[in-house]
Symmetry: C2
Subunit: 210 residues, 2 copies
DNA sequence: CGCGCTATAACGAACGTTCGCTCGATTCAT
DNA sequence: ATGAATCGAGCGAACGTTCGTTATAGCGCG
């Protein structure tokens, strides 16, 4: 009965009910533990220790380890997709739209580096319906990026393999969690600039077919 | 009745003892299982089932699950590094050297897609000495790519952030295991061409620092 | 009181690992 | 040439631990 649907008695100002605050706290700790040890390597007891709650206490908030990961991943996807949508609302220049997409993605995930890994690294552990649901969200997000790149492509009359280009872009961005060091590499703005330069310069320089 | 060679052994090539062949077989099965279920998600019993050998039998060939992964990863790094070194021997043009690096990396890992994931995805599960050893190899491999890119950079008098550029290149290449489909995307040669175009076009188009 | 929430303690199953043993091939002394 | 001893390769069964999960009983607050 937990987690599959919002609490029935929650009113509009539900974001600060005790239940919601506790749930958010648990998701945060769980994300940190999954980040450190990976989903399979993390035990419910690790989560219990980290969040200072008993095993049974945790199960009051989610009904299985799988559903817990699912909630975390789903929330992250929805949040970043919402953010992207809102940021892109006021931009119409095709190149700037791609740059803005990169910037938004990096800003969100450099602000939540542990979330970045839990999304990127634990991407295929969920099976069946739960896995299919996450895969669907992922495909939506990919589509979003691909549409932006294709928009730029037709606007400028470029010729390149869209699929490989977009997936390469996602590769650059999603690989960051393995090396990013805020003291060495700049903030999201700097990084988005540099990665945007490489990617856009790369597709602009693409050879014309003949 | 002189004692020339003990066994006639039709398929001589006795450089591989039975032990070595069995070990290789086990490593291959283990790679496949780690690929499917991840290191933490794979149990020794899974490996036992896959390789058709008992639990205790497996432990005759390695002394712990961690050491098994270590052997696999170490062997892969050494093999691909050797391959890169040999291929680069005869090429002196800086751009072609970078392209050749990309091609070699892709050829090796598209020929061994499961290995690619076991290296990329299970990269930080090993701790202490074993982990440090793998991290050292990884750093060597990174250095290799970085030197090539830096060679091109100075040869052409380009200006860009080498660290971000090289790590982005590795991001593009190492992310491939999440999406590559041999029936849709080309073989290593065509993929190396496309990724090389994006990357090289990207760093060539880099703005001068002012 | 009743209800939302937490803690204790336990469940069976699965985990990585080890022990003692077997069995065929090889080696060696006679 | 042959029996005894050794060795490499592998097996079945079990070790103690940890896993995800749950039944149940108790607390504090409206």
């Amino acid at each position: 009965m937990t987690l599959t649907s919002p609490m029935p008695d929650s009113t509009a100002a539900s974001s600060d009910s005790r239940y919601d605050r506790q749930l958010a706290r648990i998701l945060e700790h769980a994300t940190a533990i999954f980040y450190e040890k990976g989903y399979e390597g993390a035990s419910i007891r690790d989560l219990s220790r980290a969040s200072g709650m008993s095993l049974a206490g945790l199960y009051y908030y989610f009904e299985s380890k799988e559903k817990l990961l699912h909630v975390i991943q789903r929330q992250l996807f929805l949040e970043v997709m919402d953010l992207v949508r809102e940021r892109l609302k006021d931009e119409s220049d095709p190149e700037q739209r791609v740059r803005l997409f990169i910037l938004t993605h990096l800003e969100y995930f450099l602000a939540n580096p542990k979330s970045m890994k839990v999304l990127s690294h634990e991407d295929d552990v969920l099976k069946d319906e739960l896995g299919a649901d996450i895969a669907k969200l992922k495909r939506q997000y990919y589509r979003c990026g691909a549409d932006l790149v294709d928009g730029l492509k037709t606007a400028k009359g470029l010729h390149f393999n869209s699929r490989v280009a977009v997936l390469s872009l996602f590769g650059m961005m999603n690989w960051i969690y393995t090396w990013y060091n805020p003291h060495v590499d700049g903030d999201a703005k700097v990084l988005a600039q540099e990665i945007g330069n490489v990617f856009l310069g790369g597709i602009y320089a693409t050879p014309a077919p003949f």
